[in-house]
């Protein structure tokens, strides 16, 4: 099976550059899996988990925001913040959740009559919680909101 060149870069570093067989991306409108020969697509990302399958193994990365550029032979993911799954400790995760909640609170105050940004922030928290429950970290749901 044909492979595609996969690059994962964040502004601070290049996290991965491998020949992958398939890449599952947390797109803003839903997950999608890209394999060789995919139609050229650009999609924004929601906070979520990116799975890369290469030479029989699957690696997982946590990405926050950014976009992915898919072509028939390559896929570049430009994430604002990206971490290998192993790097996402409970501590880091707690910080992320805290940031998301703070954003939510702030938006709630600032955009009283505009539901848009508040909903976005709520969705961000939900996405973060989903990441946590997927990889077995405690999102401290009791403090939600």
């Amino acid at each position: 099976m044909a492979n595609l060149q996969f690059d994962l870069v964040s502004p601070e570093r290049r996290l991965a550059s491998v020949e992958a067989t398939e890449v599952q991306i947390p797109g803003a409108d839903g997950d999608m899996t890209a394999m060789a020969g995919h139609a050229p697509t650009i999609t924004t990302l929601r906070p979520g988990i990116l799975r890369v399958t290469h030479s029989g193994t699957t690696e997982e990365y946590v990405v926050l925001g950014g976009f992915a550029e898919i072509s028939a032979t390559s896929i570049s993911v430009l994430a604002e913040q990206a971490l290998h799954r192993d790097e996402l400790t409970q501590e880091v995760y707690d910080q992320m959740i805290a940031d998301a909640k703070e954003l939510y609170k702030k938006h709630e105050e600032v955009f009283e009559n505009e539901p848009g940004p508040v909903d976005d922030a709520a969705k961000l928290i939900a996405d973060m919680v989903a990441i946590g429950s997927h990889i077995g970290l405690d999102p401290n749901q009791s403090n939600f909101g």
């Binding site: 690059d7 870069v9 964040s10 502004p11 601070e12 570093r13 290049r14 797109g27 803003a28 409108d29 999608m32 139609a39 050229p40 697509t41 650009i42 999609t43 924004t44 925001g65 950014g66 976009f67 550029e69 570049s76 430009l78 604002e80 913040q81």
Partner: protein, 290 residues
């Protein structure tokens, strides 16, 4: 004529100065390597980002619904200047050059009757332009607590700038920083970040992409990130430039100190010889008088 003791003290003091500048040069060299690595690491992101944005901007930019961050507010009356310099001095003309560029730019705009607002990043640039342009300062970002430059730092600046833009506080934003070329050359640069301008990629295949969600939504999502990306890469360039400038400045200082020591040593030897000769003359003429 300075006496021997004074000369000796001077030589000792210049020697210790040379030690310090030598140490600073070596520290700057190590930091420069790190700064260059960081700048190198950010390059793939910035390049891809700008390429994609260029494609998007080209296809959406012309339409009326284009976001303000791209098309501008339709005016250029209020100009925001973001002057990025170092927190510390002793780096040659680095801070001065950026400040000078920003100053000329600001004065030109003021002469044209525009309103100027200035945000300074880094203490040294602020001090350099405070006297003449202090009344235009709107904010200052203190970077002295930042040990290792991260994307978060750029994001914080970008957030502040974007919220000012949303509040219609300015129409055009320009950043000032020094682009790193090599250790001896750094170019003070002015780059307009709002409204954003992207080099449109030459290859035409950008138009063939499917967009999910729509092109407009992606553009609206990415433009604010573009501001942060531009600021981040400017900060990185600046960090590398600062260390490069400091390295060459300290190299010069070390060399000058060396020259000075040589000169002082010659002078010291001469005066010591003069003293000896003097004593000899006294002894000989004393002996002759007997």
């Amino acid at each position: 004529m300075p006496n021997l003791k004074d000369l000796k003290n001077r030589i000792a003091s210049v020697k210790s100065t040379r030690k310090i500048t030598k140490a600073m040069q070596m520290v700057a060299a190590a930091k420069l390597r790190r700064a260059q690595d960081a700048a190198e690491a950010s390059r793939p992101y910035t390049e891809r980002f700008n390429a994609v944005m260029g494609g998007l901007a080209a296809s959406v930019g012309g339409s009326e619904s284009a976001p303000k961050l791209l098309s501008g507010t339709g005016s250029d009356q209020v100009q925001l200047l973001i002057v990025m310099t170092a927190e510390r001095g002793l780096c040659g003309g680095f801070n001065g050059n950026i400040a000078k560029l920003a100053k000329t730019h600001a004065q030109k705009l003021i002469a044209e009757g525009k309103t100027v607002k200035i945000i300074t990043v880094g203490k040294k640039g602020r001090d350099a332009i405070k006297r003449e342009l202090g009344e235009y300062f709107v904010d200052h970002v203190d970077m002295s607590g930042v040990k290792r430059l991260g994307y978060v730092d750029a994001q914080n600046i970008a957030k502040d700038v974007l919220s000012r833009f949303d509040d219609n506080e300015f129409d055009v934003a320009t950043i000032f920083f020094a682009r790193f070329e090599n250790v001896v050359t750094q170019h003070p640069t002015a780059q307009q970040i709002i409204p954003a301008s992207f080099d449109v990629a030459e290859d035409a295949d950008t138009a063939l992409y499917d967009y999910e969600p729509s092109e407009e939504e992606i553009l609206a999502d990415l433009l604010p990130r573009g501001v942060a990306t531009a600021i981040f890469s400017a900060l990185l360039e600046n960090a590398a430039s600062e260390q490069g400038a400091r390295m060459s400045a300290m190299d010069n200082a070390t060399r000058n100190a060396g020259d000075m020591i040589d000169q002082l040593t010659i002078e010291f030897n001469r005066s010591r010889q003069a003293v000896i000769t003097n004593e000899l003359i006294e002894i000989i003429s004393g002996a002759e008088a007997l």
